[in-house]
Amino acid sequence: MKLTLRVWRQKNADAEGAMSTYQVDGISPDMSFLEMLDTLNEELILKGEEPVAFDHDCREGICGACSLVINGDAHGPERTTTCQLHMRSFKDGDTIDIEPWRAAAFPVIKDLVVDRSAFDRIIQAGGYISVPTGSAPDAHATPVPKPDADFAFEHAECIGCGACVAACPNGAAMLFTSAKVNHLNVLPQGAPERETRVLDMVAQMDEEGFGGCTLAGECATACPKGIPLTSITGMNKEWLRATRKAAKK
């Protein structure tokens, strides 16, 4: 396959960026999107040019490191992560636009790499459970009803890649935050911090400069793990409940 790539190049966080055009040849349809970019980078290095910086780690679709907005879609045209997107999803001769996640809370560090540490701070605000350390408890020590376990697992699938923020017209982190809140709030292990978790995580989310939810639904469409839009509804419910409880105290 022969492709034309239009890639966002930006020297550093303070520099002005722009789209640069590159041609790549000899791309196999079985290559992943990142392998295609590796091919481009090898050519750039041979030519003595600066390779394109992009995030990646496991390349198995489970770590949440890879990003990229491909032809206007976070993670590209398939519902998966960029590392699991294959070149067979494109046609020979295609022009592909590759851009970084766009959000005020995700500033570009270089080229296609953005700073997603805002997510870490949201997790630090309440995305944890307090447990005594020591040997692991027996698996059946705390019974969890099956529907609750399934619900928690569905939301626990979030890998924190930030596609929801990139796709949201308001740069909101509602789907990410709600996935974490729902995952832990439904479980008995998460019950002691149920109220403070949602209040603190939402407060931190606002603090980071993410936008608000207008229920456009772009986040859920972009999510490679299929976190549903109703996750946000669930978090709103938890937030209202926690606010009411805090007021009674």
């Binding site: 766009r102 400069g209 936008g211 229920l215 456009a216 805090a246 007021a247």
Partner: protein
């Protein structure tokens, strides 16, 4: 608690949801009341007068009406201020656009902000036209709403403004009602289709009900 709600994006959306639902309830009542115009001038004018005597003798003349007006003004202001602040925040949160643009979200979703502004301006015109009579075409007469409505819809611009605003209100309710349910945490996967259906039915009924009046005047059914 009020501080927590007002300072949070989730809380401000709650303010929007609640104020929006209050206005929606009012719109349903308003639309049903409007349809009385098809039963003649006497019934319509009598209904308009009754609005001023509701709740008597407990309430004094026009008291109930003023209570409703105050609630509505509070709802409109709360809705608009929240929308303005949240929109500013949303725009700041997404400073640079993508080079590769794609059509996003439904038409109703994308037009919420402009639609809201159109509706805000419409409310001002609507009150100056048919409540105070300040910008009314022809001689405005308090206590003769039937004739006043006919006068308004006998002008091309009266019809144009009204029809545009009613289409905007339909679109606004279509996304707004369903969104309010999500914001208040009552939506769920099993309820989603039902909520969307109710939103669509409400939007259609209100738009059709409101538009019936100018169409009635234009076709001569109401004169």
């Amino acid at each position: 608690m009020a501080r927590t709600v007002w300072d949070s994006t989730v809380g401000k959306k709650t303010v929007m949801a609640v104020s929006g639902l209050i206005m929606l309830l009012y719109l349903v009542a308003h639309m049903i009341g409007n349809l009385k115009i098809f039963f003649g001038a006497d019934e319509f004018n009598h209904y308009a007068h009754w609005l001023r005597t509701v709740g008597e003798p407990l309430m004094h003349y026009e008291w109930t009406l003023w209570v409703i007006r105050v609630v509505l003004v509070v709802a409109v202001v709360a809705h608009a201020v929240s929308a303005y602040q949240l929109s500013r925040r949303d725009i700041r949160a997404r400073p640079s656009k993508y080079v590769h643009k794609k059509p996003r979200a439904s038409y109703a979703t994308r037009t919420m902000r402009w639609g809201g502004i159109i509706l805000g301006l419409f409310i001002v015109w609507h009150i100056l036209d048919l409540t105070t009579g300040t910008v009314h075409s022809g001689g405005f007469e308090a206590g003769k709403p039937y004739q006043n409505v006919v006068d308004t819809f006998s002008t091309w611009y009266g019809n144009a403004i009204y029809i545009v605003a009613m289409l905007a209100v339909g679109l606004h309710i279509r996304h707004g009602f369903w969104s309010a349910a999500q914001t208040l945490g009552v939506g769920s996967r099993t309820r989603d289709r039902a909520l969307k259906a109710v939103a669509n039915v409400l939007a259609l009924l209100l738009t059709a009900g409101f538009l019936a009046v100018p169409v009635g005047v234009m076709t001569g059914v109401v004169s």
